[in-house]
């Protein structure tokens, strides 16, 4: 049994314009001491996946299907009382912009102490000591002095350290970090990432690291989930995803990044524009942008296929047998002509 088991998670928002299927069948396991990366372009459902685990969705959002088990215990429909014992204690989250989660009118110390007292039975004095200890853990200099300062007196990198301190104050088993360094400069990003790795070594917790930066994934993660339009395209160990990608979106993403080799030549972007979740295609969600799309891709959603023990992908290209069977059953599986896929590329 893994520490966290997510199975076939579906989360939707019910809006005036219709049902937005933000997360469409996400499954993964997470164990102690592991870093799981979640990558994908903006709007692909990374944050909503995290918010579903924490059950902090906006009021129009709902987990419509699936299971989330923490330490063997089902969390979906477990109720707010149970979630209160989980959030902050067992699973903590930090966000891209620490300013949105810090109250500008309270000192850093007061906010840290409140978080600590909320989740433990420490008294004020003990909470103060713990807060100072946590600030020291995240390499904040002169922690006693910093306790008395306000968020605006902290730089962006320093605020993110405070958020990490706050999230870790109760020694959670899982830290979810939602784009924790996206707003920071690279040298500060390097500090924060190094800090997260160090602390993880010390405390042994599991981390879910959400990012759109494949460089950050390569540096930090043991395992990776690649998301597109609310679905998982591909998941596996970092090495499998980077060196043996088996989904056309992942391949396209890796090709889009400038490297030493691309120098002096053109990049190879993914064509077209991101998907509209209110108008999801029937088959593979990536088909409108996929240069290898076959007819079957437009008609049927590819299943999750085991590539090897460490790797799964949802792409018809890996499933010659299924494609053949579909052909025999009368489904036209031949490749789609260029101009037919163009439809999906129409801008807006």
């Amino acid at each position: 049994m893994a520490l966290l088991e997510v199975r076939d998670l579906h989360t939707s928002f019910f809006t005036d314009a219709g049902e937005v299927k933000a997360v469409n069948g996400v499954s993964f396991n997470l164990d102690y001491g592991k870093v799981l990366g979640v990558v994908g372009e903006s709007g692909s459902g990374k944050s909503v996946t995290a918010y579903s685990v924490m059950q902090i969705l906006a009021s129009s959002g709902k987990i419509v299907k699936g299971s989330i088990k923490y330490d063997g215990r089902e969390l979906v429909n477990a109720g707010e009382d149970v979630m209160k014992t989980i959030r902050g204690n067992k699973i903590s989250i930090i966000f891209q912009d620490p300013m949105t989660s810090l109250n500008p009118t309270y000192t850093i110390g007061k906010q840290l102490m409140e978080a600590i007292m909320l989740h433990t039975d420490r008294d004020k004095k003990q909470a103060w000591d713990r807060a100072v200890e946590m600030l020291r853990l995240v390499n904040v200099n002169e922690p006693e002095k910093r306790m008395k300062q306000y968020p605006f007196e902290f730089s962006g990198g320093m605020r993110q350290r405070v958020m990490i301190a706050m999230a870790l104050a109760c020694e959670p088993d899982i830290l979810i970090a939602d784009e924790p360094t996206t707003a920071l400069d690279v040298t500060i990003q390097a500090q924060i990432l190094e800090l997260m790795k160090d602390i993880q070594k010390k405390l042994g917790m599991a981390i879910i690291l959400i990012t759109h930066d494949l460089g950050v994934v390569a540096q930090m993660c043991d395992e990776v989930i690649v998301m597109y339009a609310g679905s998982v395209c591909e998941q596996g160990t970092a090495d499998e995803i980077f060196y043996n990608s088996r989904h056309e979106y992942t391949k396209g993403l890796l090709r889009s990044i400038p490297t030493a080799d691309s120098d002096g030549s053109r990049l190879k972007p993914i064509t077209g524009t991101p998907i509209d979740l209110l108008n999801m295609p029937k088959g593979c969600p990536f088909a409108p942008r996929c240069e290898h799309a076959m007819r079957i891709c437009l008609k049927e959603r590819p299943d999750r296929l085991q590539i090897n023990a460490d790797h799964q992908a949802n792409c018809w290209m890996n499933n010659a047998e299924a494609v053949r069977a579909a052909g025999e059953a009368g489904l036209d599986v031949t490749a789609v002509r260029e101009d037919e896929t163009e439809g999906g590329e129409k801008h807006e």
């Binding site: 390097a190 500090q191 759109h212 540096q219 090495d239 889009s256 990044i257 807006e348």
Partner: protein
């Protein structure tokens, strides 16, 4: 992109540029914020010069001051061998040099149609005789950036980030510029869309012979698009060299940590990478350290570094560095 394509003559020359902003620090006192402090460099015709450094180091201010959107506190801008000095010089310069902004959401008026957004500079500079000519020119500009004629009557808010950036670029191209300051033009875009827009910048440069000052904080992007790269720190230029050279052999201690901090999208390389993690934060430009601006975070700093600002010197051919100890550190 390649050296052969650029010729040696500088198109833009920036000499001892300073841009100080007065900041109120008391009721009656103000203090200069030295956003750009004695920066000199040149850009050759057809070249792309990348400009990198942490946020707040002065990149945008350099770009805006070159274009005279801010009046320089001191220093000179030369364009095509001519000093930009009088009001008339500036007016003329503005038809040759423009800017592309980072944020495709806020830099375009959402209530204007694409046609009017792109047409505005044509109207301002009276660049057509007939309505037909105006329309033709707008369609031509849209073609340059990969938009089709159906888009002309639509409103900016109907477009995604990548498309808006294309509209912004078409607008910048309206005056037939030779030189464009690109201020983080792809930073807000997703990787796959970013690659489309970067290619477009490359293609436009080839087709129209453009010269770019390309500001960005993504070093992989900057290395890809630039011929040379300049690194700034706290209002000063600390290093300038050929793009690959500075990326693989940075000489300034700040550039070294910057380059080593780049997250490389390759797990084996990333795991083996020896990052030079800096301690501390970038100081406020209102309280810049004496002497070398980097000394509060530099592992090589000596007392001498607090005394005088190191000169920006050519240490090997076309490789400029501002560090007192550059020779010892890089032995």
């Amino acid at each position: 992109m390649s050296d052969t394509k650029t010729n040696e003559r500088p198109l833009v020359e920036v000499k001892h540029l300073k841009e100080y902003f007065p900041i109120n620090v008391g009721l009656f006192r103000s203090k200069p914020l030295k956003a750009v402090d004695d920066v000199s460099f040149s850009i050759r015709k057809g070249e792309t010069l990348g400009l990198v450094g942490e946020s707040g180091c002065g990149k945008t201010t350099v770009g805006r001051t070159i274009l005279n959107l801010y009046k320089p506190t001191s220093g000179e801008i030369w364009y095509d061998g001519k000093l930009i000095k009088t009001k008339a010089d500036i007016e003329e310069f503005r038809t040759k040099a423009t800017m592309v902004f980072q944020d495709p959401y806020s830099s375009l008026n959402p209530r204007m149609t694409v046609e009017d957004i792109i047409g505005e500079p044509l109207d301002v500079h009276k660049m057509y005789k007939t309505k037909e000519e105006r329309h033709e020119r707008i369609l031509e500009l849209m073609g340059h950036v990969g938009l089709n004629s159906e888009h002309a009557a639509r409103y900016a808010h109907e477009f995604s980030g990548g498309q808006r950036q294309r509209i912004g670029i078409a607008r910048s191209l309206a005056v037939n510029p030779e030189f464009i300051v690109c201020d983080e033009p792809v930073s807000a875009l997703d990787v796959s869309i970013q690659a489309q827009v970067i290619n477009m910048f490359d293609e436009l440069q080839e087709k129209l012979g453009l010269t770019y000052l390309f500001i960005a904080h993504d070093l992989l992007v900057v290395r890809h698009i630039s011929d040379r790269i300049a690194v700034m720190y706290l209002g000063k230029m600390v290093e300038l060299a050929d793009a690959n050279e500075i990326y693989s052999h940075p000489l300034h201690p700040y550039s070294k940590s910057l380059m080593s901090a780049v997250p490389v999208p390759d797990p084996k390389i990333a795991r083996a990478n020896q990052r030079i993690v800096l301690s501390g934060d970038i100081p406020s430009p209102l309280n810049a350290p004496s002497g070398c601006p980097f000394r509060t975070r530099c592992q090589y700093a000596t007392p001498a570094c607090a005394e005088a600002m190191p000169d920006f010197k050519e240490v090997s051919k076309n490789h400029f560095v501002a560090c007192h100890r550059v020779a010892e550190i890089n032995q």
